[in-house]
């Protein structure tokens, strides 16, 4: 402490002696400025200064008033005002508290795919949509996907799920899924997890239990590759597994089908992007057999063109 104080004092004295700046000359700012001067003088060679000559200037200085190196104060240098009843009244008017919008209900609906597909059997219209409404932790989710071929609905389903964030990147979801096609309508219970595995890489895994005891598992993922900030290549993958054969709907137990997609979109605005792409669907095992029995192929590549939009 002593050393520091001495240096400050030197610095101060030099300043007082060498400058004629009005702010320094009037002693009132000395207390604060000394620190600055000390800093500025860090590289100074004190041996070249005539410290003895400064004694006169330093006499009468109140070291206790210097900010650094001194014992801390026990009372505030600026007196804390003694409170009056008027102060108390002004401080606490009866009020309900401030409001911000941190608990507001938000929503998002993404029509990720709405596309024409050039299928072997003709032309197909396919969609894949998802959305949510809710807060930051709890959200109500909607998912829907389906396909119409030559004007007939071949597949259509909708899921309504309650989602709860279990970490920064993962939500657990639970709810119901209603299939309208293929075959007769079917209702499922759904339970799953969804989230962001990597930046711009979204995945979901959902297990389903159908009303007739059928079980299913769907894994899906999609990734955005930025060719530019508006031209975006999106690979997708979806994989379906079933617990048992369901010949009426053309699904067999085990790994039933996979679909890979690659879509190139251009975001005219963030909310609206036309795209083109290809998909490659393949079925396996019994599912493939059922498909062949119906005269279809076990795998098929399609050219697609569509629009992606959200609001």
């Amino acid at each position: 402490m002593t050393l520091f104080c001495q240096r400050n004092a030197c610095a101060l004295a030099v300043t007082l002696a060498l400058t004629s700046h009005p702010a320094w000359a009037t002693h009132h700012n000395v207390e604060a400025d000394q620190q600055l001067v000390a800093d500025d003088m860090a590289g100074m060679d004190h041996s070249k200064m005539n410290h003895a000559a400064m004694q006169g200037d330093m006499a009468g200085m109140d070291h206790s008033q210097m900010g650094h190196g001194e014992a801390p104060r026990t009372t505030s240098r600026t007196p804390i005002p003694v409170l009056t009843d008027a102060d108390r009244e002004a401080a606490f008017p009866p009020l309900p508290g401030h409001q911000v919008h941190d608990s507001a209900l938000n929503g998002f609906f993404l029509l990720d795919q709405l596309e024409y597909q050039d299928a072997d059997e003709g032309s197909a219209l396919a969609w894949d949509a998802s959305g949510w409404i809710g807060g930051d932790i709890q959200r109500l989710w909607l998912r829907s996907e389906g396909e119409r071929v030559n004007g007939l609905t071949e597949e259509a389903e909708i899921q309504l799920l309650y989602g709860h964030a279990i970490g920064p990147w993962w939500d657990v979801v639970a709810g119901v899924r209603q299939d309208f096609k293929p075959g007769s309508p079917q209702t499922w219970g759904a339970f799953g997890i969804q989230g962001m595995a990597l930046y711009d890489f979204e995945v979901e895994a959902t297990a389903f239990i159908g009303e007739q005891g059928q079980t299913a598992l769907r894994l899906a993922g999609e990734y955005d590759i930025l060719l530019t900030n508006r031209l975006i290549l999106q690979p997708t993958a979806e994989l379906n597994l079933y617990g048992k054969n369901d010949p009426h709907r053309g699904v067999g137990s085990g790994l039933a089908d996979t679909e890979l997609g690659l879509r190139l979109r251009y975001e005219v605005v963030r909310q609206f992007a036309p795209y083109i792409g290809v998909t490659w669907a393949r079925s396996y095992g019994n599912t493939a057999d059922y498909a062949r029995e119906e005269g279809g192929d076990a795998d098929e590549a399609r050219f697609v063109a569509g629009i992606r939009m959200w609001f």
Binding site: A32, L83, D87, A91, G97, D136, I166, P168, L198
Partner: protein
């Protein structure tokens, strides 16, 4: 929305809003000076302000804004230190409004925060503010209701000093910077909630990756991409809202409007920079001129000569310039994310302009910026920290105590006071509040934050210019309190980019208890930035006395800028009874939860 007013003033932003003239020689009582350019300055001690809708056109598109006394910015209010001012604020909107006097020390019921200070001002209502002004300098005022601040409800406050100031000048101009969007601010926020990178059109692409591979090599480029991918963040995330929607204004003028301040050669000009933006930081410079910074957040600082300074949202800096050579100089304020700029001219006569620089190259945020520099974490098992998935990092908070020798566990309440040096292999590792653990609203935590006081900041390092840093700021007065803080309150700035949710300690305002201070006490607030964004933190009612790394008083401010990866401390004297707002001054961060009530009780 319909206006209650019958008066209609169409203001063409490119031409007529916010024209400030020279405010005269400082030695002349400024309220006595009149000149045509001063139409937008109100002086005295009694003011009538009216908040109304205002048709504007800043971009070529007609929009409805909100304005104080029919201009954006509102009138510059000129007060005198020591006066008691009366401000009658009328609301001609059809929604509640309020005015907060940013940086002014006053009784709680005059502070203008709805729900904490008063009920707000109802449509057709009037609130009379009345308080004694015990300070001088450059401040500003703005609505504290919803997003009205983004819509134009802000203006400059200048308090003339009672005593002569320790510097001289011949002219005095307010340079108020702000951001304007033609979109409805609520719509902007809604978009951010849906897609938080909506306004970022500078994300890294495949082309950038190829460039990086050719420069850094495949392994390094892949490692870099992998790290960011695993963090689920983008190093291009410099601002949530960009020039894609914002037009940056200087005294209410778009860049093409070229707001102009006049001078005569040899004069000293005081420029009072105010960042009244909702969401935008600016890097300010005047090519060809040195700027001597003489005040920060209204209060005098030891003069420091710089080429450039970064001004956080809500901060103010007063600089003195002495133009001698040229006839015109460009006032250039580029947004921190380099997506645009506000611009004006210092000129010897109207109609002149100087070359306008192009914006600087866009920087990337680095792991080191966020206090996440892996290379410096000796002794840590990186394999355990999968991509900074912090849910996996519970081991750092609930650290294996058996490994820590010589620790006094009784001292570990809240872990804030932990002596890190005692932890083997974990030196200088930042601890975090328990409320951040497994919290879906906390997407990252800094590991080794530093004060960064001498850091010019992201995008300003090594640019060949002398850039102001916080380490340059020294109040011209001693610590006005002088006591050691009786306790330290550590608060972490937290958020989730993708969800666009912001908070302190992972707890949003709605879920948080007030921070309680005892009247008269001196406390230290230590902030740790656990996000990758920069946050200007503003405490109402009381000053924030910034400390250096050794705990010495540096500078008294009202808004403390917190870059990513920073840990900064300041002292607060709880000399203001009441309920006070304490928040990030980025409007949409505040609105989504980065806000606390500070309650000072006896």
């Amino acid at each position: 929305m319909h206006s209650k007013s019958t008066r209609r003033t169409f203001v063409k932003g490119l031409a007529a809003t916010g024209i400030f003239g020279g405010l005269g020689l400082w030695r002349t009582p400024v309220w006595a000076v009149t000149s045509p350019g001063q139409a937008n300055v109100l002086s005295g001690s009694v003011f009538d302000l009216s908040i109304d809708q205002l048709p504007v056109n800043f971009t070529g598109a007609a929009r409805m804004a909100m304005a104080i006394n029919g201009s954006i910015p509102g009138p510059t209010l000129r007060w005198r230190e020591g006066d008691t001012v009366t401000l009658r604020v009328r609301n001609r909107l059809d929604e509640d409004t309020s005015i907060h006097w940013h940086g002014i020390i006053l009784p709680a019921n005059m502070d203008g925060v709805p729900g904490l200070s008063f009920h707000g001002i109802a449509p057709d209502g009037l609130y009379e503010y009345r308080f004694k002004v015990n300070q001088n300098g450059t401040y500003w005022y703005h609505s504290h209701s919803g997003a009205q601040e983004q819509l134009g409800v802000y203006g400059a406050l200048v308090v003339d000093a009672k005593e002569p100031e320790p510097f001289a000048y011949d002219r005095d101009y307010v340079v108020l910077l702000s951001d304007w969007t033609d979109e409805n601010p609520q719509r902007v926020l809604a978009k951010l909630k849906k897609q938080s990178d909506y306004y970022n059109f500078n994300k890294r692409t495949v082309g950038d990756f190829i460039n990086d591979v050719s420069e850094m090599g495949w392994a390094a480029a892949m490692a870099d991409r992998k790290m960011w991918a695993e963090m689920k963040m983008s190093p291009t995330d410099l601002a949530d809202v960009s020039g894609h929607t914002y037009t940056y204004l200087m005294n209410g003028q778009a860049p093409d409007g070229n707001w102009t301040a006049l001078f005569k050669r040899g004069e000293k000009i005081r420029l009072r920079f105010i960042n009244a933006s909702a969401m935008s930081y600016f890097d300010v410079r005047i090519p060809g001129l040195k700027m001597t910074v003489v005040a920060a957040d209204g209060l005098h600082v030891a003069p420091v000569s710089v080429d450039e300074f970064r001004i956080a949202v809500a901060e103010t800096y007063d600089v003195i310039v002495e133009p001698e050579q040229a006839e015109a100089y460009t006032l250039f304020a580029q947004s921190m994310d380099r997506t645009g700029y506000a611009r004006g001219t210092l000129a010897v006569r109207e109609g002149l302009s100087a070359p306008v620089p192009s914006v600087d190259p866009r920087p990337l945020i680095s792991m080191a910026d966020m206090g996440m520099d892996h290379s410096s974490m000796a002794g840590m098992d990186h394999s355990q920290m999968q991509g900074m998935d912090h849910s996996q990092m519970a081991g750092m908070a609930g650290m294996d105590h058996s490994q820590m020798q010589g620790m006094d566990h009784s001292q570990m309440a809240g872990m804030a006071g932990m002596d890190h040096s005692q932890m083997q292999g974990m030196s200088s590792m930042q601890t975090h509040p328990a409320s951040e653990m497994n919290n879906p609203l906390v997407d990252m935590q800094t590991m080794q934050p530093t004060s960064k006081l001498a850091d010019p900041g992201i995008g300003l390092r090594d640019n060949g210019r002398r850039v102001l840093t916080y380490a340059d700021l020294r109040s011209t007065f001693a610590d006005p309190d002088g006591r050691l803080p009786s306790r330290t309150i550590e608060l972490h700035l937290t958020g989730h980019m993708e969800k666009f949710a912001w908070s302190f300690n992972g707890i949003k305002f709605s879920d948080a208890e007030p921070l309680r201070l005892k009247y008269g006490e001196r406390v230290r607030i230590t902030l740790v930035n656990d996000t990758m964004m920069t946050h200007p933190i503003h405490l109402h009612g009381m000053w924030s006395d910034l400390e250096d790394e050794q705990g010495n008083f540096m500078v008294r401010k009202h808004t403390i800028d917190m870059p990513p990866g920073s840990k900064r401390s300041y002292r607060v004297t709880a000399d203001a009874l009441g309920r006070w707002a304490y928040h990030c001054h980025l409007l949409f961060h505040m609105e989504t939860g980065m806000f606390r009530e500070v309650r000072v009780d006896e």
